[in-house]
Assembly symmetry: C2
Homo-oligomer: 336 residues x 2
């Protein structure tokens, strides 16, 4: 370390015998500076152990080079994967990310948005917990670029990247029905979440095509958070409701469900076949037969990032919305 408690541009400027501005230009690789001076300044800066003050720079520049990622729950592997992919992709463009958990709570989501606004992030990627969040619409007016990932709004047009949830729900129902399952338990997310609502629509369609009626006692809407599905399934079984198939809102839910059903002695998938969503497989190896609705998750995340970067760099506020519905398919897994 050197004699300066904190090395500022000023100190480098003094030592180099140039102005602060010249130091700034040298370190930021701007023009209007000779290679010789630039090299000299950079060398001095390095020697002095200069660490740029991002806060001061952000204030002056009017840009923090930071993106907020607002998600329901980092403990859901889908979200963790997305967060990591987004961070990696954005890192290449010099952006850092701020991760904010909402725990599927509308109020916390709005607090997160306010925090992002306050922290002056350059953009937001958000997986909203409701399909018609009025406070987020507010972002439009604030002219802060944002992209929805995984879930969308129905009451307003925005940029988004989602999976084809209608088809996902349809495929899942069709598969279970094709397997001869008669009493299928649908453990869905709340229908005020776009993906849950759309999966329900697809699910319903598959039943209607066969002239089947949806049995209300077999359709449940629950939070996609810790332990919830176990609580729910306990209650359902407690009521004496029987079923031979389950379609869960996420693989996470599906795992919990399988765990519990196994525990009470059910033979999976013989007695009860479970279908999940998201097809999480990258790290969380799971030995049971968990068929799942699959879609290119990384592609979705990257696409959201590209759209956001486009919005940030584009001067055209009125550019058409980028709306992507990514194809879903069935990923069939056998018991190993």
């Amino acid at each position: 370390m050197n004699k300066y408690g904190k090395v500022k541009l000023k100190h480098i400027a003094e030592k180099a015998g140039v102005s602060i501005n010249t130091v700034s230009r040298a370190l930021n690789d701007k023009k209007d500076i000779s290679e010789k001076t630039k090299g000299k300044i950079r060398s001095i800066a390095k020697d002095m152990g200069y660490i740029p003050d991002a806060v001061a720079g952000s204030l002056r520049r009017g840009s923090t080079k930071t993106i907020a990622v607002i998600i329901p729950d980092i403990l859901d592997p889908l979200m963790a994967i997305w967060v990591k992919d987004i961070a990696t992709r954005l890192g290449k463009e010099g952006y850092n990310i701020f991760v904010l958990n909402t725990d599927e709570d509308y109020k916390r989501e709005n607090e997160a948005v306010m925090l992002a606004l306050s922290k002056k992030v350059d953009g937001i990627i958000i997986c909203p917990c409701q399909k018609d969040n009025k406070d987020i619409i507010f972002l439009n007016k604030k002219k802060l670029p944002f992209v929805l990932l995984g879930r969308r709004f129905t009451n307003i047009s925005t940029d988004y990247v989602v999976s084809d949830d209608i088809r996902g729900g349809y495929i899942a129902a069709k598969y279970l029905l094709d397997q001869g399952r008669k009493k299928i338990l649908f453990l869905n997310g709340h229908r005020y979440i776009s993906s849950a609502d759309e999966r329900y629509q697809g699910y319903k369609k598959a039943f209607q095509e066969r002239g089947y009626r949806l049995e209300p006692s077999l359709i449940h809407e629950i939070d996609n958070t810790s332990g919830n599905s176990i609580k729910a399934i306990k209650k359902i079984i407690g009521k004496g409701i029987g079923f031979d198939g389950v379609f869960a809102f996420s693989d996470l839910m599906a795992w919990e469900v399988i765990y519990f059903l196994q525990k009470i002695g059910k033979d999976i998938p013989k007695e009860i076949e479970v279908v999940g969503y998201d097809n999480i497989q990258s790290r969380f190896y799971y030995p049971y037969s968990l068929t799942s609705i699959n879609y290119p998750k990384r592609k979705a995340a990257y696409l959201a990032v590209e759209i956001l970067l486009g919005r940030i760099s584009s001067l055209d506020e009125k550019a058409a919305y980028s709306q992507h519905v990514i194809e879903t398919g069935l990923f069939k897994r056998k018991k190993i």
Copy 2:
């Protein structure tokens, strides 16, 4: 929205007929202001849709109210749990967190530290990927408070919270040996990670107590990142090395290992018994018999936060280091 593109303190001050400073005091709940004025100003600020500019505030205040959490991998449930617990606890004190992944990479860890320094965080909680990182020691000189979590340094004294890894390794080995396992595969992390090194020491001790010799071909050091343990175990089996027990560095590794062993037809735990570390159970229900080394993870995270907050608020730079080794125990799980 109102006529102001961006509502600043100045605008509120104008409207309220007071000075900027008074507005600042009102909004920050400082003293030297009457309840009446405070109420009036706050009401006006709310009406005008004022959103504080955290960047400007941070620059002036010299504090960002942000903590960096530097971890190897957010995809490891242990880290995800820690991150969430830390965020929750710090949130109550008005802090936000910046999550930075290192992927167990020394270079990226140092970049993360530099970034944290540049972003002017108020403190760092870090799970270091090496037990003697010289660049982090550098933090001491920078007088930026930091606490190690899960892993510690051996070449320098710092604040830390770790599990009793020596004992953890000892217990695991003892358990497997007690079960009559003769050929135990130790899938450890790299020994330049303190926890891996200490678990090795405990492991060795258990063997020595019985007069057993460690078989080098059964001890492997690998990265605790995606898919690595499967790659490793494939190679080990490919070499014709047989084993009837496995002690893995993390539950994550253990899951991967069990997955693979199952896949190639092994009966778990009959043929091969696996012991993991961290005892992840909160969300990732896992149906196989995975006995694991347990310790109060949330307690560890909270403790790290308390220590950090203490350092931040304390004026005493020379306060004795807070060093905590949290008790570990065996969590035995049966096949369900």
